[in-house]
């Protein structure tokens, strides 16, 4: 039932803290990570929705690009309009290959006039670095530094996150607007604080020097934050309708069929995926990513088949596949996402999930499943 994590080589600076807290550890993309703490996933999800939870996200890739040509160079790789990205602001975006397939999804922050921070998925960091290194464009005037191992990153999420982070940053947190980033001070050390996250709640992600990670974690925990693992993180992001790369998006999908065309800007000079994405955006996508809620009893899981509703002739056909699914404590039922054929992809349509041979009715709903803002 549990993955053996003894073979993992990569550990975050918070690894000893997780063991002390009796977290259940699991292997995730080569990292030994907490999947849940003793209180359990449901209690952790509720803490984030009702008060505040903390997550170790130090496994995520943190890349810094600096120099007079950094905006140009990143513009050839990311789907974001960096010219329009002002100092201290962030933008969700995709790293696409030449065909418009999604290598990774990322957050880009402008942290200086000629300096950007790029946060990528842990499991894709190496692929992203390979992709970046393989670009034919001139990268002089743009230096990249990998900050992942030098720093720890903690997400603080929930309605009480602002008050809590204000406490540890001498009131800096409440001065930072949503999706903004700023330099702050924690315990005399420089820290980077972004008001972003992956839960659908207000909250922050803070980057501190690696050796400060445990102190910050303990401080937050002792101030009432509930420790949360990857299990709760997956439930929260799905409730918020946020995609997980490897499940809902991949090199075999493009941003438009996933419903994220609004995060694609194709006009940047020499943008590697520009031509493909322009072409894709002008076509009718044969399948679309939808969210659905179970009507009957059952929990959708990735890989399960999606069928059309029974017709008058008592037949139904295969129309898609579940890409993410779980039990949602907030909705109190099974929720999921998956690709379905375009003509079935309308909100309100009934579909059927083949739960290992048991056919269970579901309804396509508007994403997100949960909205705080």
């Amino acid at each position: 039932m549990l993955t053996d994590d003894s073979q993992c080589t990569k550990k975050t600076p918070l690894y000893p803290t997780h063991l002390e807290s009796n977290a259940k550890m699991t292997e995730f993309c080569g990292w030994s990570m907490p999947v849940q703490y003793p209180k359990g996933i449901i209690a952790e999800v509720k803490a984030v929705r009702d008060s505040v939870g903390i997550f170790d996200v130090s496994h995520m890739g943190r890349l810094e690009f600096e120099g007079p040509r950094s905006q140009y160079f990143l513009g050839t790789i990311l789907s974001a309009d960096l010219m329009a990205l002002k100092l201290g602001r962030s933008k969700y975006n995709f790293i696409c290959n030449k065909d418009g397939g999604i290598i990774d999804d990322a957050m880009v922050y402008r942290v200086g006039d000629e300096r950007f921070l790029l946060i990528v998925n842990a499991g894709n960091t190496d692929k992203d670095l390979q992709w970046i290194a393989s670009q034919p464009v001139d990268d002089s005037g743009c230096n990249m530094e990998i900050l992942t191992n030098k720093t720890a990153m903690i997400a603080i999420q929930g309605p009480q996150a602002v008050a809590l982070v204000d406490e540890v940053t001498a009131g800096s947190a409440s001065k930072i607007g949503r999706f903004r980033i700023a330099n702050v001070s924690f315990d005399g050390c420089d820290a980077t604080l972004a008001r972003t996250g992956y839960t659908g709640e207000d909250g922050f992600e803070i980057i501190v020097p690696a050796d400060q990670g445990s102190d910050l974690w303990s401080h937050l925990k002792n101030s009432g934050a509930v420790e949360c693992g990857l299990g709760a993180r997956d439930v929260l992001r799905l409730e918020a309708g946020l995609p997980l790369h490897g499940n809902d998006i991949s090199t075999c999908t493009n941003p438009y069929e996933a419903g994220f065309g609004r995060f694609v800007y194709t006009e940047a000079p020499d943008y590697v995926a520009g031509d493909s994405l322009v072409q894709i955006s002008a076509t009718d996508h044969p399948r679309l990513l939808v969210g659905f809620k179970m009507i009957g009893r059952g929990i959708p899981r990735p890989g399960l088949r999606i069928l059309s509703c029974l017709s008058d002739e008592n037949t139904s056909s295969l129309i898609g596949t579940v890409t993410s699914g779980t039990y949602s404590p907030t909705v109190d039922g099974g929720i999921g996402m998956g690709y379905v054929e375009r003509k079935y992809a309308e909100v309100g349509n009934e579909i059927v999930i083949d739960v290992r041979g048991r056919l269970v009715e579901a309804e396509i709903v508007k994403l997100p499943f949960y909205k705080q803002f």
Partner: protein, 124 residues
């Protein structure tokens, strides 16, 4: 943690014998490994189960696992309370969180199960 009056299977189910009726549930180890149980799929009353065959499914937030029957016979009762309150499996795995009751067809097969000490030693 592992009551001595119960028998155990290597698939982490327990059996409580009352005459010819066997009550079946999952062990403390199983519920702790699963995490929060949110769904239990049990068979129809009246159906027959073979020893160590799959008889249902148990799902936590994270994953689904098969349930394997440690005894052989006819299912005479299922725990309907788990439909609305599956978390009882976590709270009282040896009590209110029982799953099914089976009319034993061959009680000699109970010999293939483990006592508490033997079962606990397999968890090391």
């Amino acid at each position: 943690m592992y009551p001595e009056d119960l028998k155990y299977s290597k698939e982490h189910e327990w059996v409580r014998i009352n005459g010819s009726i066997a009550e079946v549930g999952v062990t403390l180890f199983a519920q702790e490994s699963l995490g929060d149980v949110v769904y239990v799929d049990l068979p129809e009353v009246g159906s027959e189960v073979e020893q160590f065959a799959k008889f249902g499914e148990i799902e936590s937030v994270k994953a689904v696992s098969d349930l394997f029957c440690p005894v052989e016979g006819k299912i005479v009762e299922i725990n309907h309370k788990l439909v609305e309150n599956p978390e009882v499996v976590n709270l009282e795995p040896y009590g209110a969180g029982w799953l099914i009751k089976v009319q034993l067809s061959d009680s000699s097969k109970l010999d293939e199960l483990m006592d508490a000490a033997t079962y606990e030693s397999t968890l090391e």
